[in-house]
Each structure stands twice: as C-alpha cells, then as structure tokens.
C-alpha cells in the first residue's frame, strides 16, 4: 500500500540535532535543580555566580535554551538536519501551549503593562490562541519547538532585564497571598525548564512518534524522580534535624560491663563482670517529664506504642486469620464471601478518625469512662483487622490446590489438611501482611486522640506486666495500667506540635527539637517494620521461585 512511509532501519551517526537537544536538556536539568535549591533556601537568591546575579544567570540560560530549541526546530523544517516529524504537533500540545500562552499573556498584560480586566482578558485570549495556532498549524518540528522557545525567551528576557526579579511582587485582590520575586523567579524557571526540556527531548528523538514517546517518557521519569525526591527529602530532613536531639547526652563506649550474678545459675560461681559495650541514649530511655531527668525522653511513648501494637495484634490476628480461613477454605456461598469482602474493604477504607469516634462511643464508656490503653489497643485492633483478613485470605488462596488434593487424597480430614498443608504454605504471606499492617497502625494517631491520649508529656512508663491484681468482686482481675491514658510515639509527636513548649525548666532543647527527635524515632520504628516486611516478602518470593 502506497500510504505507508518508510524511514531508515538503522540510525546513522549522532547528529548535530541530537547534540544540541542533549545540551538543551542538560541546561534544563541544571536550571530545574538550581531553582529547587533556591526555593528550599539552600542557595541564597543573591548569590553571584560567574560575576552575575543568580537570577540573571537563570535568564541567560533560559534564553540559551530557547535559542537551541528554536534552532533545532527551524533547521529541521528547512531540511538542514534529519528528522521524521509528523504533520502537526497535535491538539494536546496545542492546548498545552494555548494554556501557557493564555496565562503568560494575561499576566504580562495585567501586571507588566497594567491593563484593566477587559484589556488583559483580550490580550490573554489573543496570546493563547496565537500560541495554540503556532503549535498546531505548522509541521511538528516547528509546532513543538517555536512556541516553547518563545515562552522561554519571554521568561528569560523578563529575568535578564530584571522586570521579574527580587523587587517584584504581586498581590491579587481575591487571593490572600502575595507572590514575590524571590519565589516566583524559581517557579517560572522550573516551568521554563520543564517546557524546554520536553521540547528538546522530542527534538532529540527526531520528532514523530518516537519524539512523542521521548517527550512523554521524559515527563513520566521526571514525576517518578520527583516522588523519590520527596521521599528522600522527608527522610533526610527528619534524620538531619532529629539526630542531634535523639543523641543528646548519649554515650557510646567500650568500657561498660555486664554483671552476671553467679548465684542466679544455682552454682557456686564467682560474680562475673563481663566487659560490654556501654550505650546510653537518655532521649530513648528517659520519661518525658520529671524533676529528676535533665533530658526529657520518649520511654513512655515507646512503651505505649509497644503495648498498643501488642494488644492490637493479640486481638486482630486470631480474629482476622480465622475469618480468612473460613472464607478461603470452608464457605461455599459466593454471596457470603462477597458480603465479607465488601465489609473488609469497607473497614479498610474507613478513615482512621471514624475508628476513633467508634471507640469513643463504644469502648470508652465501658472501660471506666475515661481514655485508656485498652480502648487504644482495641481500636487499633479494629483497624488492623481488615488488613489481616485481606492479606491472609490472599495468601491462603494463593496456596496451590495440589497441596490440598495431595493431602485429601491421603484420607486426611479437611481441618487437618488446612492445619498441616495449607497454613504452613500460606504463613509467609500472612506474616508479611501482618508486619506491614502493624507498621501502618504503629504510626496511627487520630483514633488515639479520642480514646487513649493522656497528658502531653507523660511522667511515668506504662507498667502493664506488674499491674495485674486479683480482686474479690467482678471482674475479679484488674490492671490499672490497662485502664490508664498514656502516650504513644505518634501521639507524642502530635503533642509536641500542639504544646508551645516543653514542661519544666532546663531541657537542653526546644519543644520543636523534641518533635524532630520523636519523628526520627517514630520513623525508625515504622520504617524498620516496613523494611522487615518488604524484605521478608522478597525473601519468600525468591525462595518460591527457586524451588
């Protein structure tokens, strides 16, 4: 069929087009990162670079990108460089450039030229339509480069001429924020570098279908890079700011010793004193508030989180696992299974604060009317329940039927089959799911505010084990620690935000530093659980594949 066009099967040498486009993309990447550095105030906006102001340099580089892009596009159109462009850049690119044109034209008209509403609207529509037409009507190599180059050139010119610079500010009437130069310059530079790099990515791949792929993949990769960047920044901030607090007055040495009373073993040994590593981290081992500690610590919060998690697991794992077994192995009614699935998914997506309300209405009045550890444990258990059911159900279902058949063929009862063949095979998945679920509830705060959160800075640790008492009247057993309100790591982080300062005098750090330290410890606990969960999943999966 004559409609099909053919291009070279094998690409030749690297061409001028590719060199220029790669250069433009590199400049774009530098501008992108530099602008974020300015926004994060890692680099002062007045830093002189190579003898010029930073923002002027941004402008110059944007102009250079504009020249490069326009050059490649025009050269391709005139046939000086090889490429395989489509007939048009397409409606998507057209509406994108139309939008940029509209915003740019409107802002320039209203802010720089000082036009009224009618005036700027007219200019905005005109520039928008013009930009869209410039993108859509000509061949793709011009349509996807020239509008981008014009935008970059305009932004670059504004920066170089200092029209948009440190002295610039804009307070729109109907938005209660002021946009100032020190923020908006990096923002428009980021926008410019994105548009320019996208255009250059297309040009580098020679426009056409491959160019579109290159442009799209460039944006997708950038989004993923941005997500990982956010993650790195979050973790980085917390570690950087929290480490000093967490290690206040900490001691690490090799001069510690471990006392082994020989009498303990029931033999006549001398009391040994073994040399041992000496580690003291008061921030982790002290209580949060006391006359006798100089470094307020997290011990009540850490122990509180521990007891909450243990209680939630004791409640949720048997219940959830049993439900999953029944669903996967026993029930034959599809309706019933669907009902349970809808219910568990509903529980999973229920907002945590709603669980808190439920605890407040259902549990709190029944455990002495006040906030208590037991309510916290049960509420977190309710939240853990759907995760346990879902993950256990999936991993039990993933056990191949051959296991069941093999066992059943030996004349073993259904329950014995489940217990001896199905559950052991499903256990890795269940364990992984539980670990990930625990990681989730360990960081949960909202329900604790309603059912568990005690004083902002606890002065004693929860003593669950030593508080059991037998009483002569029902309920016969009592445990005051279980019925006390207390603290937990995420709750502690919340109170360090809401309380203006640390209680008492003479703490070596501010309440905000205390918060950073708490965030670090919380992160270590939660991410530690996640890392263990993910690692165990990879381990079991590899084991499965290698067998």
């Amino acid at each position: 069929m004559s409609t099909v066009t053919r291009h070279a099967l094998v690409a030749g040498e690297t061409t001028l087009r590719e060199y220029v486009s790669t250069g433009v993309m590199a400049v774009g990447a530098v501008l992108f990162l530099a602008s974020w550095a300015v926004l994060f105030q890692w680099v002062g906006e007045r830093t002189p670079v190579l003898g010029v102001d930073l923002f002027t340099l941004f402008g110059v580089l944007l102009l250079a990108m504009a020249a490069g892009i326009a050059g490649v596009g025009v050269a391709s159109r005139l046939g000086h460089v090889s490429a395989s462009p489509s007939a048009s850049a397409g409606l998507v690119a057209g509406s994108l450039f139309g939008g940029i044109g509209f915003v740019t034209g409107g802002l320039v008209a209203s802010q720089t030229l000082g036009m009224g509403t009618v005036g700027w609207l007219a200019v905005a529509v005109a520039t928008g339509v013009a930009a869209a037409a410039l993108a859509v009507v000509p061949r793709e190599d011009v349509g996807s480069t020239l509008p981008a180059a014009l935008f970059l050139a305009l932004v670059g010119a504004l920066l170089v001429t200092d029209t948009l610079g440190l002295g610039w500010s804009w307070s729109p009437n109907d938005v209660s924020a002021t946009f100032v130069g020190s923020v908006m310059v990096p923002v428009v530079t980021i926008a410019g570098s994105l548009v320019g790099s996208w255009s250059a990515a297309k040009a580098r791949a020679g426009f056409g279908t491959q160019g579109r792929e290159a442009g799209a993949f460039y944006l997708i990769r950038l989004s993923v890079f941005g997500m990982l960047g956010v993650l790195t920044l979050l973790v980085g901030f917390i570690v950087k700011n929290g480490l000093e607090t967490a290690l206040t007055n900490a001691q690490f040495g090799l001069d510690g010793h471990l006392d082994l009373p020989g009498a303990l073993f029931g033999v006549a040994l001398p009391d040994w004193s073994l040399p041992f590593v000496d580690v003291q981290v008061p921030f982790v081992t002290n209580v949060s508030q006391s006359l006798y500690v100089d470094v307020p610590g997290l011990a009540p919060a850490i122990l509180g989180t521990l007891w909450l998690v243990v209680g939630a697991m004791l409640f949720a794992i048997p219940l959830g696992l049993a439900a999953a077994i029944f669903l996967a192995e026993y029930t034959e009614s599809r309706l019933f299974r669907q009902l349970v699935e809808v219910a568990t998914n509903g529980l999973w997506s229920t907002p945590s604060i709603v669980f808190g309300l439920f605890g407040l209405a259902f549990l709190v009045p029944r455990f002495g009317g006040g906030k208590s550890l037991l309510s916290g444990q049960l509420v977190l258990g309710f939240m853990l329940l759907p995760l346990v059911v879902i993950t256990s159900y999936e991993s039990i279902k993933a056990v191949p039927d051959e296991y069941r058949d093999a066992s059943a063929a030996l004349g073993v009862t259904q329950w014995q089959t489940i217990r001896s063949a199905v559950l052991p095979a499903a256990m890795p998945g269940v364990i992984t799911g539980v670990i990930l679920g625990v990681g989730r509830i360990a960081g949960e705060t909202a329900p604790l505010l309603l059912v568990y959160g005690g004083p902002p800075f606890a002065s004693q640790n929860p003593n669950v084990l030593s508080s059991f008492q037998f009483t002569s009247s029902p309920p016969f057993v009592s445990n005051t620690a279980l019925l006390d309100a207390g603290s937990a790591l995420p709750y502690q982080l919340y109170t360090s935000i809401t309380s203006g300062r640390l209680p008492g005098q003479g703490a070596p750090f501010t309440v905000q530093d205390f918060g950073w330290g708490t965030a670090l410890v919380l992160l270590v606990v939660v991410l530690g659980l996640y890392a263990v969960g993910i690692a165990s999943r990879l381990y079991f999966r590899n084991k499965l594949y290698n067998e």
């Binding site: 099909v4 094998v10 859509v136 056409g208």
Partner: protein, 301 residues
C-alpha cells in the same frame, strides 16, 4: 563454523545415536546451500538464544526466500517460536533473554546498535497464536498501525482542519480486509467491536491488521492452533494467497498443515537445533536426517 561442536552434543532423542557426526555435518551443508532464488528476504547466521541458563536456540543459520511460505515445525519446546520472535525482535520484551548471532532483513542487520525497532516491526509483521484484536472497532483495528505511524491522519485536529484521510482509510481498510478474506463477512459492521467476532474472524482481522502496515515479511506463530477446522482451512488458504506478495514464515506443530501450505520446511528438534531445512516435498518424502524421518513418521516427538 562451529556447527560441528554443537551437532556432537548429545540430545535426548534416541535417533541421534544412530546418526554419526559426519552425516549430520553433510546434512547441514546440504541445507545451507539450499537454493534460494534471488536475494533472501531473511538471512539468519549462527543465532543463539539463552533464557537465563536455558540454551533455547543453538547456532541456527538459514536463508528464507522471499514471496514464499516457510514452515517451521518441531515438537513443543524446540525453539521454533523463539526463533520466529527473533526475526522482529519481539524477544527483546523478555528481559532474561540473551540473543547472539546475526539476522539480516532485506540485507540489513537487525541486531546492531541504532536499529529502530518501530521501523523493523513495520517491515516484519506478526500474527500471534491466540487472536489478539484490540477492544476497538473492526475499522480501528485495521487502520491502527498506519494511524499510529502518522500515515493515516484521522485525528480530531485534522478533521477540524478538513485535511483528514478518511477516504484513504476507507480504501485501506477494505483492501486489507479483502486480502485477509474477511471483508465479505464484516462489510456491514465495520464499526462493531472486534471482540464480538468469532475466533477465526478475529485471527483474520489480526492478519488484516498486520497487512495494513505493508510488511515485507509476515511472521505467524501457530495462527490456527486456537481455531476450529473450518476456520483453520480458511486461514490455510489465505496463507497460500498471501505468499504471492509477502514472505510468510509460519510456525506450526501440525505436520499435515506444514505439508499443505508451505514451499519449504525447517524442522527444529528438541534442544533448539535446526536439523533439516529444504523443499517441503523433499523434507517430508525423503528427509536426509534419520531424526527428522523419525519425527515425521511419528516415532518420536
């Protein structure tokens, strides 16, 4: 050539013990010099494929003549599908695959740096074992390739500007459906979803879809294995007609089918070896290798 080394490797096939290395060598020489009239459409030289530790294809070399039907037969797991997927580099999708050797399509090496996979697959079309039409209308399925390549512009924009290729598309769709012997059956429902067609119709639609890109070579991976006898017969007739314009390479495990439709036949046996390659009549009536004879007469495989 290191073919000799390979041929001495013992294979589980019982027949290999009866064939000496020497005769095996002469057999290989004879099909290497197999008379290809004119330029070969596809020339394969020392092709090796590994999937991880698994050596799936061993030193395969063959020239495929143009405008003819070449059948690849052999027992399952012999590497014939792997070989087929090397010809348009669909094996690149499998991350663990390692491919060495040379494949030339139309005189150009496809395993070298800078090869444009999109362009390669336009020249070497493929039809898969199970029909895999897109969940779109019949028309869109056929015109999918040319549209995506920009050869047919029916986008919203070009329609707005009044420069779309609706007529060209109409003609192309009709032509390809006729070439795939499907037009009469679907002429009045081109806008219906392709998933509503029967299996045989879907497979012919997939052939039409491949033809619309105007390939030089058409690869077919057991195109009739999922179809009933009547649909199979239609596909077989179609393959014969296609060979007038295209170079068709078809994988099949059905020896009668290979004998019916192909001009030349290549026999792969267990372990990824190409054991015999020649005119179909000759391969089926007087194969040179004992192993091939055993396979064809049903003694093993």
């Amino acid at each position: 050539m290191s073919n000799a080394d390979v041929s001495h490797q013992s294979t589980p096939a019982p027949a290999s013990t009866t064939t000496t290395g020497e005769t095996e060598e002469t057999v290989r020489e004879s099909w290497r010099t197999y008379d290809v009239t004119g330029e070969p459409a596809v020339a394969v030289e020392d092709l090796n494929v590994h999937y991880g530790d698994d050596h799936a294809l061993k030193d395969v070399s063959m020239d495929i003549p143009e405008e003819s039907v070449t059948a690849l037969i052999g027992p399952s797991g012999c590497g014939k599908s792997t070989f087929l997927r090397c010809l348009n580099r669909m094996n690149d999708r499998i991350k663990a695959a390692r491919i060495d050797g040379s494949v030339e399509v139309g005189g150009e090496e496809i395993y070298q740096d800078g090869v444009d996979l999109v362009e390669l697959r336009k020249r070497v079309g493929m039809v898969f074992q199970a029909p895999n039409p897109f969940p779109k209308s019949i028309r869109e399925n056929v015109s999918y390739g040319p549209r995506k390549h920009g050869d047919l512009d029916t986008s919203l924009l070009s329609r707005l500007l009044g420069r779309d290729d609706a007529e060209a598309e109409e003609a192309l769709v009709e032509q390809c459906l006729r070439d795939a012997a499907l037009y009469e059956e679907v002429a009045d429902r081109l806008e219906d979803n392709a998933l509503g067609l029967s299996g045989g119709q879907q497979q012919r639609l997939c052939i039409a879809r491949a033809l619309a890109v105007d390939p030089d070579v058409l690869l077919m991976d057991e195109p009739a294995s999922a179809l009933d006898p009547i649909a199979t017969a239609k596909i077989e007739d179609l393959i014969g007609e296609l060979a007038e314009d295209y170079t068709v390479v078809v994988v099949t495990h059905n020896m009668q089918q290979a004998a019916r439709i192909s001009d030349q036949t290549a026999v792969f046996l267990t372990g990824g070896e190409l054991v015999e390659y020649g005119d179909t009549d000759q391969v089926f009536e007087s194969p040179e290798s004992q192993r091939v004879e055993d396979y064809i007469t049903g003694k093993f495989g």
